[in-house]
């Protein structure tokens, strides 16, 4: 019974109220972006949960997944298709491609959060909806960026934010549904229509702009991703428009 309860909790969602915020990147001329109310998973998806998904959807297993949906490092730390080896059952699943993450959420009747939704929920600390100007908050995020192998930690060990969500910072990077909406200038591709907002953000990095810097790291990382990529420090969680029974 206890384990059942624990399991339910692991896949639980909390409501995030509507609101608007100015993201570092994406809004034309730094206008606020409006985010509709949505539901967000309390925790990132664990190894255990992902294994259950694979048991039901074997075409997403390590050996069977199509090359177009995941690169070679997909679930690289798993022992085989149905065994995540020495990894902690309650650690976030990582080395998953965007396609696999998307499918997982669909199978729960959910979806991946949009980048705006994710960033909106992630700007909260324990007490405030928007803690981005708080020095300690930014220092906490940035100090995590310097730590290694936090993906080996269990879910739910970082702080619980205003919405009741854990691990937005301090555990793993997370996929968003529209990660491929970022343009990096100066990357190798000859995209003439890339825009420079992102780098205007970075140009202003100084002591008072730690907030931009922390977010810049996330946007820059997303901008470097491709949907097939499976990275050891990247997991995901799901979102939904309405409360789902899971």
């Amino acid at each position: 019974m206890f384990s059942l309860l624990a399991k339910a909790q692991e896949t639980g969602m909390v409501p995030v109220k509507e609101g608007s915020f100015v993201p570092l990147y994406g809004a034309a001329s730094k206008k606020p972006v409006f985010v509709n109310a949505f539901y967000l998973d309390i925790y990132p998806i664990t190894n255990t949960s992902f294994l259950n998904f694979i048991k039901k959807n074997t075409s997403y297993s390590k050996s069977k997944i199509k090359g177009i949906f995941a690169d070679k490092s997909y679930l690289s730390y798993w022992k085989n298709d149905f065994d995540f080896g020495n990894a902690d059952p309650k650690s976030p699943v990582t080395s998953v491609s965007w396609f696999a993450a998307k499918k997982y959420c669909e199978c729960q009747g959910k979806r991946l959060p949009t980048m705006d939704e994710w960033e909106y929920a992630a700007m909260a600390d324990e007490k405030k909806i928007d803690a981005r100007t708080r020095k300690e908050f930014n220092e906490y995020i940035l100090s995590w960026y310097e730590k290694s192998k936090t993906y080996e930690n269990q879910i739910g060990k970082t702080f619980k934010n205003y919405w009741g969500v854990y691990d937005m910072h301090g555990l793993v990077w997370e996929w968003t549904s529209d990660f491929n909406s970022i343009f990096l200038s100066g990357e190798s591709r000859k995209d003439k229509s890339s825009d420079k907002n992102l780098f205007c953000g970075s140009a202003s990095v100084n002591a008072s702009d730690l907030m931009d810097y922390a977010a810049f790291m996330r946007y820059a990382f997303r901008g470097s991703l491709k949907a097939q990529y499976s990275t050891r420090n990247m997991g995901f969680r799901c979102a939904a428009d309405k409360k789902t029974k899971n």
Binding site: K56, S59, N180, S181, R189, K192, D195, K226, T244, K245
Partner: protein
């Protein structure tokens, strides 16, 4: 009552996954679709004539694909010109096995009617040109496969990658031309090489 709701919910959630199971079986049974083929994507699309098509129906053709939106004033006309330039350099025989596909990144605005008007005004309303649109989600997924990034930056404008992709008859990506007005010699070479295999 509550039981019913739960039953319906369970049914719904099962359906979501069952659907995927069906797709899996369909693709597993269809050995012709290779590992890296875009025909693994189950998404449905609508062309400029309002006809629904599955991506798979294009299998067997060499595809030259680009993602655009028709209300675009800056980069897209040049991308379309680049596509036209590629078409003009293909010989008649090659063209029989090539489809030049323009996929909308703005499905909300680009209705089949709008696509049709665009095709007509650009004198592209005939073979080998195809205009496609789908849901926003399918479009995002398709872009992910092509490594095309795009973002709506205002109600009427998108920023997007300028990439023209060539797929072999199996649906595998063989070449990408990046940038506007770039030399398309290589692109043509890949198209010719792939059609020769047919």
């Amino acid at each position: 009552m509550k039981k019913n709701i739960i039953a319906v919910l369970i049914l719904l959630s099962l359906q979501g996954c069952k659907e995927s199971g069906k797709k899996e079986n369909a693709t597993a049974g269809n050995k012709e679709i290779t590992d890296l083929s875009i025909y693994n994507l189950p998404s449905k699309w609508t062309n400029q004539n309002g006809k629904d098509i599955e991506l798979k129906s294009l299998k067997g053709n060499v595809l030259v694909m680009v993602m655009i939106y028709t209300s675009c004033k800056s980069a897209c006309p040049r991308l379309v010109a680049d596509m036209r330039d590629i078409e003009s350099k293909l010989n008649k025989k090659t063209k029989q096995n090539v489809k030049l596909v323009l996929v909308s990144i703005d499905p909300k605005t680009d209705t089949p009617k709008k696509l049709k008007a665009f095709a007509v005004s650009n004198k592209m309303n005939h073979d080998p040109w195809i205009f496609l649109r789908s849901t926003e989600e399918n479009t995002r997924e398709f872009a992910a496969v092509l490594a095309v990034n795009y973002k709506q930056i205002s109600p009427i404008d998108f920023s997007h990658s300028n990439i023209i992709s060539v797929f072999n008859p199996e649906g595998e990506l063989v070449f990408q031309q990046e940038g506007l007005g770039v030399n398309n010699e290589k692109t043509i070479a890949f198209i010719n090489q792939e059609t020769k295999k047919l």
